[in-house]
Each structure stands twice: as structure tokens, then as C-alpha cells.
Symmetry: D2
Subunit: 495 residues, 4 copies
């Protein structure tokens, strides 16, 4: 199955192996792409003509999600799993529609290439539209499924990696052609309403990137990565993408014993400078985003967290060219709460986008679950509201079905649940703001700095001699309660 | 490549798909096996006739590891990476040869099926003997490589999962036939000197086990798992295996919300009881071992750690039928030091075998690295020596090359390094015992319990009224220093 | 001693020191008790006559909490921090009053001896009724405050450590006398409505316990601990306590290098056997509870978690004599969710009591915060309801104000918040049960075991040969979706 | 207050309390200082005249450490715990004496104020020179002990917090006077050979700092902290200190719900700017050091790790005025290895000083143990050697005896063990450098960047168009093995 669309049937594949050695890698890659982190299982409910019509042309008779209606808002009392209970796209909250606050996007990779494989288990998903290949035709059919999904879910944005939407080929030129073909279809399917929240290049799946892309010890890999990002920038721009993301999954080290960290970081900076230059050259005005993650797959990634990324950007003079894409699961893996990372990004002027997923607090790896915690969602939305929204960024669901969730409807249930949770968070923030008592509590805590001396200090005029004089004059300072329990009570009351 | 050995070349594979739908799952499984956690890359240095002679017959011209000599002991001053610096198999230490203390075995899965894939990346290994298939011929060739490796490394033991050594087929019957064929070859290749330290069944890779094997919510899966373990017990027995291991990688839960934990644990107990009965029935006298692991792939495994496993065994009356296989990396993931888990197993009379690997203390998942920490190795060997050795258990290297280690020689270097580290640990223990001051320090700490009252307490005759009387009579007790820093100094001096 | 250099009050305290050397330790202990983890700050709003009347007699004019009314249920819309929004004591839910489900108790130590000290900072609390001493008079006054607090909060239960409620003296005899005197007052103040949920002995603060109590390397300490537990059992019994708790804060090790873990565990078993015997001798019918905790203060405690404690109890034949007191913060520190530990205890027939606090998921030590997470509270109450309640156990708030919360009203706000959160959890459980769809989902997952073969397996009649036959007969088993996202959606809808 | 109920010494201490209300806080503070994290236990082997002569004057007859000789280097074969086995101060390694590489200093706080108290237990240490007070006389006697300790250990450097060496008084003026008096003695005792590696201000123990010092919500506390740092800078300068450290133990938050993080960080920047200005004003040329720590005591500190601190310094334009003091235990608590933090500091030009302690990899709080791990010590020294040494910084032992280590000799054993471990690390680094194969391995990994294209990239001339052209020209890049196992083998061979 896997090989058919690339090689004429009827050919002795051993012969191919012998005659076209270079092509063998391609075969393997196809298989890899198809299997190792992607959808593999053969279709069970595929129309009778799949192996002819669909497989060849990417066409598909009828709907991809035949039992699933367009998802509607039915309010909190609804028991219908395929409805929104809290997310009401056009309802206005705090001066904007929910849609504008949230700017939800569907992540192509998890939703359409997630196979359910894990380090100890092979793929479990068995979507009816998949034919088990990684062919161009399959890529196009999958793209149609994507747009049906997006429309039924009622969102306008999506995001993607280059290699998820189109198959690798033998050469970079051919691979780019594949990508162009799928992108042309996507452009058509987008219509006037839909466009990418962001695009990105997949610089981690292929073995060539095992030592990194921009930080690979091999100059050839660095060049290849540059070429791939160049193309991904072009494609994102062409599709009307509003942002472009860098996630450095392989930019880090497995052991410092064999690593020249300083040199690798210099290379990473050179790479990003070149990306900035090229973005400007092609007139792409989207925001460049760095997505911090502490580790996994590497033992230690260079973009550990928001502050580490900010330090890197400042050190290399790139601070004005980038923002951050904060992922909640990455936040907790780096030892911070999601709210902390969002606030750190915001305070540094870097909050650009949110990967609204969640991890398991007792688990030490990236579980990429849909966020269902109301309390965390409320804190996430607090940061968003303080930031005045995220546009041109938004939310993407870097979240995947559990390996054991194998029904097509699970894809919808998961997204609805994630969207509703954040929508509920936004409603809670509105309650908190309306009530005002939490803001009051915070404002009052710092009111001693609203004094003359406080203002002088904040203006940089609080020298140590003056302050010592004041300290002696004032005697032992009074220190009031921080009222944490009251703050928590007020916060919880809004949930 | 992937399909050739199962289907005649020259067949329209689409046609196959159409005509033999049921077989499609098989194809996918083959692919899965070949790729998702296994060796995939096409051979680069394969002899010219691989695609004919080797691929069909499993034969291989010449050595698998042509540049690698039989590894010799050359002593600590040697700079030769392909020599032992500390492990001298027949040297006697503390009354046994090093070989007898260590009982090293090679783990087939990591060494011969490890592909370098990780959750974000596809396979990186490209061993010359691999032809990219998961065929029976390939399985046999791989088995030959295994025995050449074992012999060159100078060990007598190996261990395996059923599905790693032989390919899955369409039905259980056929799969068993595949297994029989490979096992027959292994039996021949073992000769008189080599045999398995242990065998086991792979109950985690296949999607059927996604909810567990013995604890699956599906009775059909429970039965399938039973049939698979039955066969694996038979095969292990046939090959002269000394132990049989249960690792419950999928026996656990992803969320308690959809799980009946009590019922699942009851099922697990029933399953293990049946295994005990069957083992006795076939006259297999090997030790049954449970391998605790806290989590990964599941959010929470039932055999969390040594104490949890012991509680389970005691609750269900299985405590005398099992021992534990302690893995250092699992120990640290469960919040304990490896030494703690070994001592807990030992004190409960359950120390049966050791997976001598190590994790990264800053990483929250199973990295399965070769142990290179001298201090940890010394503590591991302390437990082994206190246990009077591990036989019929031993050490297996549940350790894999890093994804980025892609030279054939890396396989040898890693094993040598792991063996040398433990050998150095054993030498250090001998130094500690000879010196005697650490033992003295511990003995003296408890000497007050060597008194009359201490003996009464230890004999269960220390009732509270008598003790209260003593406490009042004695007044405030003197409490000496625990001398931790001195103990550490003595310990480190032996390294 | 402490005061001599600052106050020239006519007495040579050094002389006191010289004359009564043995007493110096006592002084230090008093000071330790007063300071290192307890209330210390001098009263600021103390009535004019405190230094005479109150201090000498333990009397206190007027209320301890003059601005605080008896806390009433006002419903979810109330903005009054000093009211219950969810806890309505006598409202019936799922067939019992909320009071009977919850059985809330106030923990004397955190509420009345919590000083706000932490490893890097000294005490911050400054309660008006404290005079800075650890005198018997102060102990009595504090006990009066305790009962006023309990009554205003509207609960009937409290719990205590021996040394928290009464001061240490020079000898055990005198210390016991102090305890008797305070206990007599407590008995009187309890009246007919109030009694202890549980009592316990403090075997961790005093330096004599630095190597443990029951597991100390010193026999004299073992005896002392026995005498202390004997008295604490008596006192708990006298006050009508329903349970007695063992928390082994020092029963563990700092390093295995200087520890004989096997011998220490044997001692611990002997100690608990003696406790069981003494309990029976005095006719105390309360439940004995072990409180698992993984570590802190020791590097590794012996009662690591529920399963470890259960294994210990089974190994030493004590399983029928004890239940467990599960603390949520301890659960998460041991790598489990609170819900997991509760279910593990319940399944082992050991769920006796709950320390309803919470930790911080990003913090590696015991923060003992009041639980404010609605989702976690709902899962806690799920276990309680499945257990048919906790009686004779209940909930105690092993939770403390943050160090920076220094208003008296913070004590009330924190307790109200914790009680309301659990009450909200109970209400959510009622909604889940009424709705029924989550239970349905779980029941259906396992329905294949409700078949004939399933029943045979569960009855222990599923031997491997029969199962293999079935597996071959059935072919590849069907494995449905685990519906985790749906389960989460249903669960969250009830919050 | 504390003593009234136990001693009837004829004085009504309550009267004192009434008359001198303001002084009560002072009493409490004295007690706090004496107890909550400091040495408290009464002397047991105190000379007969302690209570008169010593206590009043700070004099002490004879040696403080009478049984302890000056510690000598005796080589690795020595069994004498009171000797160096690896640290030979004047031996030259890699072109410098060991003394010059290491620049070891004794930390006054742990060594002389460490009481053994922990969050669940009171003080355990009982040093003979302590009289249980926090008097000025006691402070002076303790300072004499400090210098005897330093001399016997054979080091030239020490470090201190202001409040550890001299007692708090009622007013800042008086407190400063106390400090001056002790500092004058220290100056005398230093002689010509000894001086501080660094000084610092203790801005965390006192309750006034419960919300932070520079980031307190109270302007009065900010001023007080400024006054305290001003004085500490002066005193450090006066004593010839080479550095000044900022550890922000309270500069962080307990919950974001009540915190204005942006405003607090601005205040912290203003504070440090003022410190820089004052340092220059008084002509202090020492290095200002920030000591990162992720958390504890706060839930989240602002100086989380090296990169976070660097980002802060860059954001506020302070990057050229500060370096970092890296603590190994803080490194691991923040999710990094110590080596990572050292290298991060070094690469950012910020490696100033090292707190050479270690934590427990399974423990989630700061254990401040003496480093005894040879492997870690070797990596620490690798960074030091790459940095060309640390001067004017050095090593301080922010490490404390375990609570249960109560012999005076334990203080020496611990320091010797820590110094020997690092010395062994340095010797190992010398072996690695001499051998050269690890350096070779790393250099070769990156050699493709020593090409023309590599150089162009490193010079910032690698634009995406040129790189794409190259990538297409070169085809699939070759990616060699990272040789991690070989690197580990080489590294371990040097231990």
C-alpha cells in the first residue's frame, strides 16, 4: 500500500532497491512519515472505490464526518457532547466577541497526522479517509478533511508544519513541488474566510535533524534547515498566515560532554537573523514566534522557557523581531505554571500566541492534552485580557487525542471541550473584573508605592543614602497580610 | 522492500488491498513493527547479493561486525575503547568470579530492534545487516547478528520479547509458527554455553493492547494476552531460560475517570495465578519476575515500584511465586534511588534480577541509558553482594544507544562501558568490605538494640507499660551523631 | 539565658543557669517550642490585664475573635468572605447531611501553633491572645481560643498532637502532668457536642527523635516514643477521640549508607504491634491510622504512600488493625494524584481519614495549603461517596495559612474556603451521580467481562489453555475507544 | 517572657513587658535569631567560667576545637578522616596551584549558625562554645571560633551575612553598632592573610521581609532593605571583601493572584541600580553577584536560574555590572544540571562564583549538602578551567551538616570531604586535558563549520537564498554519530 503511488505497480521492488539505491531512503521516509508519528491504520469504512478513485485523485465521495453536524452553542445546560456549552462565538464579552478574544485554530498535525503511537506502542487511529499511504493524493484528501473539520467546528484559523501537509520526496526540489501542490489546494479550500494562524517547518522528525537544524554540528544540515524554513515562510505568506513559529525540538543537547553550546547558540542566532532578513525581503509582515520548551526530545533545549528565550533574543539583538508562543504543557515541564509563563512573556512585551494545551502534573513528559481545567483556563484568559487580546496571534490546540481515543467523534469532543474550557475561563475573567475585588486587593497591596517616596524610587531617584535616612526615620515598617486565602476565595467564587 | 517477502513481487498491490482486506492489517503491522520502534533504515554497506541471497534465506556472508574483535580485558590504563578496563570475567572477587557475580545478558530489543526513533523523530539506525523488512528471513539474520555480538562481548546470557525476535503474522497460529522457526534457530545458535537469562511477551506495542493486556477492559484482549504469555513461557522454557519477566507497560490507566481500578487489579491477579499454574504444568522452574515501573506509557502503572508490587503480590497470595526485576531508571522515575528499590526488594525477599540502566536525573521519562555512574554502580553492587548474588537472575542491559549514536561500534562501546562501570562497582564494594569501616559505623549505630531490652523489643516483648517504665527510669536519652558525612567520605574513598 | 544581655532586671540569669544546669535544656525546649514552628510574636491587641489575669490563669476577658460572627451558610451568590457559599451543614445530599459526609475537624497545630516560620524565615503570626510564652497558662488560654474558633466555624471535631496542646517539662512525668491539666480543660470545653476526630503524639520536633521514634537507632528513644504514644492513646481515649494517627515524620532515613533499613522496619512493626495491644488493653475502640508521606523531613520515609504502607502492614500481619489517613499534598509529593491514593486506600479496604489539603504542583515540598481546587475536591468526594463516607474517620485540615497571611480573619477565611471547596465537590458528585452518564461510560467499558468467559476468568477459572483456544477462535479482538475526552467533558460539566 | 512560668526569680517579667512594650519585639527577635534557624542548644562542655568571663567578654579559654589538628594533605591512601586525600593546596595543576584554582571559603552561616532545625524539628547542634544566647559577646566568641576553624582547615577566605555575625538590636542604628563591633573584631582576627570572598545582607529571616526586600509591596521595607544593603556593602568593603552577593530568597511570589509581578521587577531593578551607584561611590571594586534560585522559600523566585537572571540584567541595562553566583543545588532544583548552569553563566560572560554544594536528585527542596560526587565535581571544574578560574570569585560551601550530624568533628569532616571532592575533580580535568581525546571528539563534531560556508554563516553572511542553493547542490547531508557513549567512556576513565 505504502509504495503504490510512487512506483508503478507491477514492478519488482527488490529490483528497485537494487537499481535505485538512492531511492531506498525515500521509501523508508515514506514509511516513516506514514507510521512513526502519523496515521497508519487501513481504512475500515472506506467507500468501495477508495483504492481507485480516492487514492488516485484525492477525491472523496460525500462527507468525511457524516454523522457530525456543525457544532452549535447550546448553553451550559445542554447534555449534547457535540455542542458548545460556553463558547458562543459572536457573544460579546468585555468589549469583544468571544471569537475575537480567542482566535481559535486547529492544529493540522495532531488532528490529522496524530496516529496514537507512543514510545512503547504503534498507531491506534484508523480514520476512514486514510488509505495507509503518505501519498500526495492522500495528502490532498486529508486537507479536504481538515477544512470540513474546521468548518464544522466553526473556526477560521488553522496551523501546520510543512511536512505534515505534504509528503517528503527524494529531493528538496521535488518535496517543494509536493508542498506547492497541497498548498494550492489549501488556498482554494480556505476560501475567503479561513487562513493560517501560523505555519512552520518540521525540523525534527527526519533523521537528518538528529543533532538539530540551526544548531546541528553539520553545516549541510544547517543549510538544509535554512532552505526548508525559507520555503515554509513563503508558503505561510502565500496562504495569508499571520504568524510563523520556530519550535526548536532538536535545538539543544543530549549531553554537554560532546557539545559546544556557545558555538551552537551563535549558529542559532545567525539562523534567526537570516530568517528575519528573508521575511522582510518577501514582504511577510506576520509575527515570528519562538516556542519555548524545556526538553523532550532533547535532554535540554535551548529555548527552555520564556525568560531563557528572552535572554537569547536580547543577547543577540533580536528582541524586537520575535514574540513567544507559550505552551501550557511546556510551561509546567519547565517548572513554571502556565500563568507564570504567560505573564513573563507579557511583561517582557513578548506574548504573541498560546498553545492552549495542558499536561499531567504527575507526569514528566509532554502529554499535550486538551485543557479542561477551569481554574487554569481562567488564569490563561486573565493574561490574554491584560494583553488586550493576542491578535495577530491566537490560540492553537497543540493538543492530541489520547492514544486510546479512536472514534472520529472524539476529535470533535476534544476540541469542543478545549474551546468550552477557555470560553468558560473568559466568562470567569469577566466576572472577576466586574466584581473588582481581586483587582482592588492587588492595587491596595502596593499603595505605599503611590506615595512621594514610592514615586521617587520608581523614577530611579531612590539612592541608598536617602533611603537609609528614611528607614531610620520611619523605624520598623508595618507589614500587612498578603491575603492570599482571600484572593483565592474571590478567584474561586468566579469559577 | 517492506512488503516483498510476504507478497510475490509483480502483484498489483492495490489489488491485494482490494482482494485481501483482512490482510491489510497485517501489512500495517509489519510496517509498524519495522518502523515505529524498530530498525528501519536501508542497508548502506550491504553485500551485493543481499537482496537475493541474504534477504531470502537469512544467510549473511562473513561477519556482522567485521572490524570488531572479541573484547578483552586490558586493565584500567588501556585507552582502547574496545577493551574492558575493569571487567575481568574470570577474576575472583569476594569469593566468586566477576562473571558469576554479574551474570550479564544482552537485551535483544534495544540492541537489535532499537531504531533510534523517539516521540518526535523517526529511526536513525542503519545497521548493515538490516534490509528494511520485518520478514522471517530478516529475523533469522538478526538472530545470527545477536549471537555474534554476544560472543564477541564475551557473555553467556541474552533476553528477549517474543515479538522482537520473530514477526507478527495474520493469525496467532501463524505468528506462533514464525516464533517457533526463529526460536529453533536461536536454540541452535545458543550451543551449549549460551541461554536466555529471561524471556517475556511483548504486550504493549500492538494497538490491541492499548487498554492493557491482563487489565484490558476487553475480555478478548485478556484471552489473547494469556495465549501470548503461554507461548512465551513455553519458548523460554525450551531455550533453557532461567527466568520469565512480566513488565506491565500497559497495565495501568490514563485517567481514573474511565477506569475501574479494583476490577482491573483483580483481573491482573487472576492472570498471574494462571501463569503460575501453567508454568508448573509445563515444568518450567524458572523464576517469575515482575518489573516495576511507575508510568510511561500509561499515566500510572499498577506495578509502580517495589513496595507497590509487593503489596499486590501479598494481597492476592502470590508473594511466594514471584520476585522482582528492578530497573534503575524506573526506580528514579518513581521517586526512589536505585539503591532504595534494590534494598526494598531484598528486604522483602524479592530481589531477583536487575535492569542495570540509568536515567537522567533532570529528565522525567525513561531514557534507558547505559549506567556510567561509578557511585551508583557501587551501591547497586552493594545490594547484589548483600543478596549473595542474583542467580538464577542476573543483569540485563535494558539500555539503548542514544538516538544520535549511529555507528555499529557504538553498540559495543556502550555495552563495554556499562559492564565496566558495574565491574568497577564490584571492585569498590570489595574495597569497602575489606576496609570494614563503613560496616562498623552502621553496626555501632544500632548497638543499643544489642542490649537486653533491645533484644526483648526485637522479640516482640516490648510492651508499652514496660517501655514507659524504662523511659522514666532512663530519663532523657542520649542521641549520638549519625555520621553521614563520615559515611560518605568512607564510601567515596573506595571509588 | 536569652534575655540577660539586654535586660538588667536585677536577677543574674547566668546564676540560674549555673545552679540548674539540667534545667537549661528545658529552657531551650520551651524556647524551641515557642519559636521554631510555633506562635511567638507578642500580643498587640492584648487586653490591659493580660499580663496579670490572663497570663496567670489562662482566662481571657471577652471573645478571642471579637469581630467574627458564627459562620453562616449564605449561598453561592454571597460576597461575604465570612460566610459559607456551598457548605450547608444540615442540607441533605445523597442521603446524608453535608455534616455527616464531611465530618470536618480543626487541626490544632496549624491553626493554633502555626507561626509562619519557614526554613529561611522566622515567625510572622502575632495573634492577640498569645503572650510569647509556652507556659501552661498560655496553653490553656490557647485551648479556649480553639473551642471558640471551632464553635464559630460550626464544626464538632478537632485533632491534636500531645506536645502542641501542652508544654514539655523537664521530665516525662511532669510533661504528662502538664498534658493532663490541659486535657482536663479540653474535656470541659468540649461539652457534649465536640470531641476529637483523632489524637496523636508528636515524635518529630524534639531533637531526641532526630533518628526516628520507633525506628531510632537508640533503644532509649524507642522506649521514650512508646511511653509518649501510650500516654497519647490514653488521652485520646479519655477525650472521646474516634481515631488515633501515626505519622512517621522521622521514621525513614537520610542516607542508606548509615542505615539498616531491615532492622528499622522490624522495629517499627514491633512498635505498632505494641500499640495495638495497648489500645485493646485500655478499651480504646478508635481506628488506628497510618498517614503515608514520601519524604520531608527525611530523605525517604518508610510510609512512602498508600501501597507502601499496605505492604508493610501485610508483611507484618497488621493489615486488619490499621487504616490510612490520606493527605492530598503527600499524595502528589509521592508522584500520585490525591484521587489515586484515595482509591488505592479504598480498594485495599484502608480508607480511614483524609487530610484535605493541597500542594503546589510546581513545588517539591509540603506546602499544606487549603484545598481550593474544585476539580480535585470533586474527585476526593467521589472516593468518599464510593466509600460510603469516612466515619469514624473524617476530614481534618492539615492546612496552614501562608506565612504572609497575618490577620486573625485569615484563619477563618482559609477554613471557610477549604470547607466550601469540598462541599462544592460533594454537590458536584451528586450532579454526576444523578446524571449517570459517567458511571454508564465506565460500566460499559468493562461489559465484555460480564460475559460467561469473563465471569469464569473473574472466578479464577480462566486457565491459559482455555484462553488460548478462545483467542484463536475469536481472532483479532475489537478494541473500542476509551472515551477519555468524553469522560472529562462529562466530569467538567458537573463542576 | 519566655521564662516566667518556670522560674520564680522574683522579677515580674510581665512588668518588664508592660513597661517596655517596644522592646518586646526585640526580645522576640533575639529569641528568633537564637532559635529558628540558628544554634541554640546549651553548652555541655563549656569551661567552668563561661557564664562569667566568656559570656561577658567573648573570651574563651583555650582552643575551640581542641582535638582537631591543622588539616594536612596525606594523599589518597590515607585513612585519616581529618586529612586531605586529594587537596594539596600548593601543588600546581594546569599552571596554577590548587589553592588558586579553588579559592575555597568557609560560609559563616551554615558552619557557625546552622542549628540543625528543619521545618519539622528544632535545633540539634550543641557546640561547646555556644551559650544559648544571641548576645554581642556570643557573636564575638563565635567569630573567634570561625577564625580558628578557617586556619585549621587551611583556607584564606570566608563569607557572611550581616545578621549572622552580629545580633539585631532594637533600632537600625543600634543594630549597625553591633555589626561594627563584630566587624572590628573580625578585621583584627583576619590578620593579613584572610579576608572575605564575599559579604551579603540577610533580607529573608526577619518577618519584615515576608513580602520581599527590594520587591516588597511596602515602601518602608524597600527603604529598610536599602539601608541594610548599604551598610553590608560598607562592611564588606572595609573587611577587604572581593565580592558582594544578592540572593533574593524573598524576591518572588507565593501566588500571582495577589502579585503585580511587573511592578515588583521594576522595583528590583531600581534597587540594584542604586546598589551599583553606591558601590561606586564608596570605591568598592568588588564584583556584584546575583545568586539564582528557582524557589524556596517563595513559590517562585524572580532569579529562577542563570538565563532568567541574565534576561533581567539585560532588560534593565545592568548586564555589565553583575555576575552570577551559581549554586549546584539551585541548578538542579531549577531543572538543570549544575554543569549546564555554569556553562550558561560562562557563555553569557557571567560566571563569577560557585556555591559548591549538592542536592539530592530525588528531593524537591534545597538540601545544601557537601558535594561528594566525583563526576559532578569534575564537570564543575571543567567549567572553572574553561573560565580561566573564578578570581576574584571562588568557591564557598553553601553546604551544611545533616541535622543528625552533631559532633564538632563532623564540621571538619564535611569540609574536608567537599574540598577533596572538588580537588579530585580538578585532577580529573587535568587528566582529561592531558589525554585530549574528549576535546578532539568535540572539535571534530563541528569541523564542517570550519569550512568556507561555515565561516560565512558564522560571520553572518549565510542568507537563506544562498543556503537553499547549497542545500540543493549538496543533496541529502551526511550526519555522523554523536558518539555520546564514547564521550562518557572517556570521561569516566578520567575519574
Amino acid at each position: 500500500m505504502i509504495l503504490t503511488t510512487k512506483f508503478d505497480d507491477g514492478v519488482n521492488l527488490h529490483e528497485i532497491g537494487k537499481r535505485w539505491r538512492p531511492r531506498r531512503l525515500l521509501l523508508l521516509l515514506l514509511c516513516l512519515n506514514a507510521v512513526s508519528s502519523l496515521v497508519i491504520a487501513s481504512p475500515q469504512t472506506c467507500p468501495a472505490d477508495l483504492s481507485t478513485k480516492c487514492a488516485d485523485s484525492g477525491e472523496w465521495e460525500g462527507e468525511f464526518f457524516p454523522g457530525i453536524p456543525t457544532i452549535k452553542y447550546e448553553g451550559p445546560s445542554s447534555k449534547n457532547p457535540l455542542s458548545f456549552k460556553w463558547y458562543n462565538a459572536n457573544e460579546e464579552i468585555l468589549g469583544k466577541t468571544m471569537k475575537d478574544w480567542m482566535r481559535f485554530s486547529v492544529a493540522f498535525w495532531h488532528t490529522f497526522r496524530g496516529s496514537g503511537a507512543d514510545p512503547f506502542g504503534s498507531a491506534t487511529k484508523n480514520w476512514p479517509w486514510e488509505d495507509g499511504t503518505n501519498s500526495l493524493a492522500m495528502a490532498k484528501r486529508r486537507m479536504r478533511a481538515n477544512f470540513e473539520f474546521i468548518k464544522k467546528l466553526g473556526v477560521d484559523l488553522w496551523c501546520f508544519h510543512d511536512r505534515d501537509i505534504a509528503p517528503d520526496a527524494e529531493t528538496l526540489e521535488e518535496t517543494n513541488k509536493n508542498l506547492d501542490e497541497v498548498v494550492a489546494l489549501a488556498k482554494k479550500l480556505q476560501g475567503t474566510k479561513i487562513h493560517p494562524l501560523w505555519g512552520t517547518a518540521q525540523l525534527f522528525l527526519h533523521p537528518r535533524y538528529m543533532h538539530g537544524g540551526a544548531t546541528s554540528s553539520e553545516v549541510g544540515v544547517y543549510a538544509y534547515a535554512a532552505a526548508q524554513v525559507k520555503k515554509a515562510l513563503e508558503v505561510t505568506h502565500y496562504l495569508g498566515g499571520e504568524n510563523y513559529v520556530f519550535w526548536g525540538g532538536r535545538e539543544g543537547y543530549q549531553t554537554l560532554l560532546n557539545t559546544d553550546m556557545g558555538r551552537e547558540l551563535d549558529h542559532m542566532a545567525r539562523f534567526l537573523e537570516a530568517a528575519v532578513a528573508y521575511k522582510k525581503k518577501i514582504g511577510f509582515n506576520g509575527t515570528l514566534l519562538i516556542e519555548p520548551k524545556p526538553q523532550e526530545p532533547t535532554k535540554h533545549q535551548y529555548d527552555w522557557d520564556a525568560a531563557t528565550s528572552a535572554n537569547f533574543l536580547r543577547k543577540y539583538g533580536l528582541i524586537d523581531e520575535f514574540k513567544l508562543n507559550i505552551e501550557c504543557n511546556h510551561a509546567t515541564l519547565s517548572g513554571h505554571s502556565c500563568h507564570h509563563e504567560l505573564e513573563t512573556a507579557r511583561i517582557n512585551g513578548l506574548l504573541g500566541n498560546i498553545d492552549a494545551n495542558t499536561g499531567d502534573p504527575q507526569v514528566g513528559w509532554d502529554t499535550d492534552q486538551f485543557l479542561t481545567d477551569i481554574s487554569e483556563a481562567t488564569m490563561v484568559m486573565l493574561s490574554v485580557v491584560r494583553n488586550g487580546g493576542l491578535a495577530p496571534g491566537g490560540f492553537n490546540f497543540d493538543a492530541k487525542l489520547r492514544r486510546e481515543s479512536t472514534d472520529v467523534e472524539d476529535l470533535f469532543i476534544a476540541h469542543i471541550s478545549g474551546m468550552d474550557t477557555l470560553a468558560r475561563g473568559l466568562r470567569n475573567v469577566a466576572k472577576l473584573i466586574e466584581d473588582g475585588s481581586l483587582d482592588d486587593l492587588v492595587r491596595k497591596r502596593y499603595q505605599s508605592f503611590d506615595s512621594e517616596i514610592g514615586a521617587a524610587i520608581e523614577a530611579g531617584k531612590g539612592d541608598f543614602e536617602m533611603l537609609e535616612k528614611k528607614a531610620m526615620e520611619w523605624g520598623e515598617p508595618k507589614v500587612p497580610s498578603a491575603k492570599q486565602e482571600l484572593a483565592e476565595m474571590i478567584f474561586q467564587s468566579a469559577l
